[in-house]
Amino acid sequence: MNLLKLLGWEVERATKPYLILITLLVVAQFAWLGFFLWSETNMYEEIRRTGTPDYVLTFANYLGGTPFILSIGVAVAAMVFFSFWIWYRDFQGRGTFMMRLLLMPQKRMIVFGAKLVTMMLMILGLFSVQWIALKLQYIAFSSWLDSQMIPVGGSFEQAIRFDGALSPMYPASFVNFLIHQVLIVLVILFIFAFVLIERSLWQRTLWSPIIAILMLGALIAVPVTAFFFLESRLFMDEMMVVVGLGLMGWMSVTVWLSRLYLTKKLSV
């Protein structure tokens, strides 16, 4: 079974919960948009009756609403949860599914690769759906307010750029977007490494999750301490090189750890 077949398999297994998540997010956001526009229009009408309303609505007002922020939070939480679940579900029951995967003649890292690519495809898919949804929401937002003769300020780009959650998701430069995706890959690699260490030790000790956390905690703490030591001694461009090297180092070590436990120590 090659990588593509495994990938197809993983994606198929994720399709149902993934589609439910997307539907939930899109419906929640559009419902909030509808409610937001309805309440703002009512409020504006009321002010218009009593005097001249002197405030201008921006798309950022809608994006700053709790339901919208919550919808983004739910998506992030779901992806973090799924990064664990994509492994743990294979260990469910008596771990027969994982057993089948491990007994495949191909290298075990293909299983690892397929799960990583599946996660990234799902995350990029969410980014894409959210971007398209945002554009549609802006069209609905501005055309509704225009039709009600309610002044709209600011542009779509500005609203995205100054939003705490959306600006790192959709930075003004596409290269930065790719760099942020690398950071997301790194988070997933840490989660994968945690699961594989924990699953390798669970039959030997009850403390396996704590051991996994301590190992990965040390992996995080040592470079971060070095970073704070170096921070005030290096220039911005030198710091960027150090951070770049650090990220590459983290990636290599998490993949190496995962490989070590997946190929040599994993027990079902």
């Binding site: 898919g125 554009k135 430069s173 220039f235």
Partner: protein, 366 residues
């Protein structure tokens, strides 16, 4: 095969969504050209900054030199690092590396090199000197008399007199602030403090002192008698039966006279907005395009007509005045030195994207 359809569908969603995002976030295509009409030597290391700002908050920045035009807004992390690498000259890196660990830093450039002073929290004061490639560092801990007071106070700026660094600072907040000068004697490892006699006034900044990393600053002579400063004044305001103190910038040009140890008024209503301290001169552009020149060794003042007609946007680089006037296609930038026009250049929008930005674009040489 059937399973691959899920992957293909997800891939298609990603391509459509992120394709739209990449298209929306594409870089500006506006391009500019700097053509020097006279005296190209002046423009060899000079950069024209173009600021495009609209009321809707759209912003674009460009840097134009005789070799290239480049956008400087929304640079990605790699471009930012490369731009910074270009900006900080390798010859001054050692000096600034010494300063970068400090919580607060000020520096000036004298004919003998850079002099910087900084503090590490409330633990110590450090004085740095850079001469050529040599960096020297002198530390003043809390055991040195006056060091603690200097660390607790906001600094207005620096000057050098008889080889020693002097820090003008403000002792105390709120009512009746006292302006003091700390002379840092590196040889004797002492700090001597003197109070500047001022009534309801304080020195807020010393013209020509830069904060933290500014490698390209004008050279200031070490033994100037007059140190150009900005002042604030406190007035008592009564509103709704309540009286409170209000502090604001004081109009006019002022200088601290190191011989009489007093602040003198060089000009009552002069504007410090466009002013430079270069070696032993203070040059300030006045309304109507005249320059006031003050000899900082003697205090002698003179004026000269520089810009004829209306004044556009101006800036000083060293002792050179750059004056940009907008035209239909961009801007004309004239350069003046010692009151005389020495060079002229034209910045032009070279494509439609740049032409569209023209009505809201300002031009500065920095």
């Amino acid at each position: 095969m059937k399973r691959m359809w899920n992957v293909a569908a997800l891939g298609a969603v990603i391509v459509i969504g992120l394709g739209t995002f990449a298209f929306d976030m594409r870089d500006t295509k506006a391009e500019w050209d700097l053509a020097v009409t006279t005296n190209p030597e002046v423009w060899k290391d000079q950069t024209v900054n173009l600021y495009y700002n609209t009321e809707e908050g759209e912003k674009e920045r460009f840097e134009v030199t005789i070799d290239q035009s480049q956008v400087t807004t929304d640079l990605n992390y790699i471009e930012q690092a490369l731009a910074y690498d270009d900006e900080v000259d390798s010859s001054v890196r050692d000096f600034y590396r010494q300063l970068s660990g400090l919580s607060f830093v000020q520096s000036i450039q004298t004919p003998d090199g850079y002099i910087g002073i900084g503090q590490d929290g409330n633990k110590e004061i450090a004085v740095f000197r850079l001469n050529g490639q040599d960096v020297t560092k002198q530390i003043f801990g809390t055991d040195v008399n006056g060091a603690s007071e200097l660390m607790d106070s906001p600094w207005a700026g620096l000057f050098v007199r008889a080889g020693n660094v002097h820090v003008i600072y403000r002792d105390g907040y709120g009512e009746n602030p006292v302006t003091k000068i700390a002379m840092i004697d590196e040889g004797a490892k002492q700090i001597k403090i003197e109070t500047v006699k001022l009534q309801d006034e304080a020195i807020s900044s010393v013209t020509g002192t830069s904060w933290a990393f500014r490698p390209y600053v004008a050279t200031i002579d070490a033994d100037n008698r007059f140190i150009p400063v900005s002042m604030t004044e406190q007035t008592s305001v009564t509103e709704g039966g309540e009286t409170y103190l209000s502090e604001q910038e004081k109009a006019g040009l002022h200088a601290y006279d190191v011989e009489t140890k007093q602040v003198v008024e060089l000009m009552p209503d002069g504007d410090m907005w466009n002013a430079t301290v270069y070696e032993d001169q203070l040059i300030a552009l006045q309304e109507g395009g005249t320059e006031l020149v003050v000899d900082l060794k003697t205090g002698k003042q003179s004026t000269r007509q520089v810009i004829d007609g209306s004044v556009g946007t101006t800036s000083y680089v060293g002792d050179q005045l750059y004056h940009a006037r907008p035209t239909k296609e961009g801007a004309v930038i004239d350069v003046y030195q010692d009151g005389k026009a020495i060079s002229s250049a034209v910045v032009k929008a070279t494509n439609d994207e740049a032409k569209a930005l023209l009505p809201s674009t300002q031009f500065y040489v920095e």
